[in-house]
């Protein structure tokens, strides 16, 4: 097995319950470097919980999640936070940009949090805004731009730190078809260029069609086509 095909993320028998309700009930999956994987399933099937577990945001009740061979639950909270900043990027359904900051400052924020000085951070942020075709709104605040523009800014923010994995939770869920497709094209093109893997949670088949393969989650169980074969 070459380094390129070694699993980046490996989840085995992951379980997570909220009270008496099992959100995940034995999820298995493998994510490899550079691949775009769609996590699909109906509402309430556990796909967002799975994403949160994979990203180290939520700690599973049982099961294992390894990132590049390291067990996530064996890390301290501080180590997991550092990992999220250094290796992961996030795009959510509603951008979740900081409303008080300009788009440029929003995109530069992950770099600033990692200790990059303001000027070089904003220079990189400006390059990413240009790449995501939203350079013209860099001085505007999130309240002054459209939903589609906001999601492109969010994609720029997710990719600016050169992450190994981008977690995208329904990134087009609040957009119309045209803007949703534009965001997906830009996200997957940028991830392909940088070599980042994308874990894409979606219930929309047309969005999932931008992935390389899909993992179906139903009743908290995942069916990973790669694991099956």
């Amino acid at each position: 097995m070459t380094a390129a095909t070694e699993p980046l993320l490996l989840a085995t028998a992951v379980r997570k319950a909220y009270g008496p309700t099992a959100a995940l009930d034995g999820a298995d999956l493998t994510i490899r470097a550079g691949e775009v994987v769609a996590v699909m399933g109906p509402s309430g099937s556990g796909k967002s919980t799975l994403l949160h577990c994979l990203a180290g945001i939520v700690r599973p009740d049982s099961g294992e999640i390894q990132y590049r061979g390291r067990e996530l639950s064996a890390m301290s909270d501080g180590e997991r936070s550092a990992l999220r900043r250094s290796d992961f990027g996030f795009v959510f359904q509603f951008g979740q940009l900081v409303p008080e900051l300009t788009c440029l400052e929003n995109v530069a924020m992950p770099l600033r949090l990692s200790g990059t000085k303001r000027r070089p951070a904003e220079r990189q942020a400006a390059e990413w805004l240009e790449r995501l075709e939203v350079a013209d709104i860099s001085g505007k605040r999130p309240g002054e731009i459209s939903g589609g523009q906001g999601q492109r800014v969010a994609v720029a923010r997710a990719l600016v730190g050169d992450p190994r994995v981008v977690f995208a939770d329904e990134p087009t869920g609040a957009l119309d078809s045209f803007n949703g497709e534009r965001v997906m094209r830009l996200l997957t093109d940028a991830a392909n260029d940088t070599g980042a893997a994308v874990v894409l949670v979606t219930h929309e088949a047309r969005v999932a069609a931008y992935s390389d393969r899909e993992i179906v989650v139903r009743d908290g169980k995942s069916r990973d086509t790669e694991r099956v074969s």
């Binding site: 109906p42 094209r185 088949a205 047309r206 999932a208 069609a209 390389d212 899909e214 139903r218």
Partner: protein, 174 residues
């Protein structure tokens, strides 16, 4: 698709030879399914007979490929009527997929597996169309989008059916 109306519509911009009509049709609408020459000439013969086109000139040498066709006033009216008439939405009330699901339930096979493998097959085609759309021009994008929306509708049906399998099983095996 009505080949006759499409060829008539292409003639509205000016008279054309049969081979020119075929080439323009293939470029704009043919994509994976180019028109056969025989189909062009048989269609033009029918349109001539109905008075919707006329022969505008014949180049020396004879043969159907030498004729130049022009649309008549009746032909222009026919195109206008066709364009104004909404297409009948196709309801697909008797689907093979539904039949397969019911048969799987009746014979004790896994309908869930059937739906899963169908979903994978639909997504495989949707990925192919999405790639083609990304690399293609606007015409490719619009044609692929049309196919993608239909495939997506199928997938939504697959999801809904998967969610109702227990209920359906109870009804068909009652």
């Amino acid at each position: 698709m009505s080949i006759g109306h499409t060829l008539l519509g292409l003639l509205e911009s000016g008279p054309r030879h049969g081979y020119d009509l075929k080439r323009t049709f293939d470029e704009r609408f043919g994509h994976d399914r180019p028109l056969a020459y025989g189909q062009v000439y048989s269609t033009m013969a029918r349109l001539l007979k109905s008075g919707l086109v006329e022969v505008d000139g014949i180049e020396p040498g004879g043969g159907p490929e030498r004729k130049r066709y022009a649309i008549t006033d009746a032909g222009i009216t026919d195109v206008a009527t066709w364009l104004a008439q909404p297409e009948k939405p196709e309801p697909y009330l008797q689907t093979t997929l539904y039949t397969k699901v019911v048969l799987a339930l009746l014979t004790g096979r896994s309908a869930a597996d059937l739906l899963d493998s169908q979903r994978a097959e639909h997504l495989r085609l949707m990925r192919e169309l999405t790639r083609r759309k990304r690399d293609g021009d606007l015409a490719d994008q619009l044609i692929c989008d049309h196919a993608l929306f239909h495939l997506e509708a199928d997938l939504r049906w697959l999801e809904l059916t998967a969610a109702r399998l227990d209920q359906l099983a109870a009804e068909v095996t009652r």
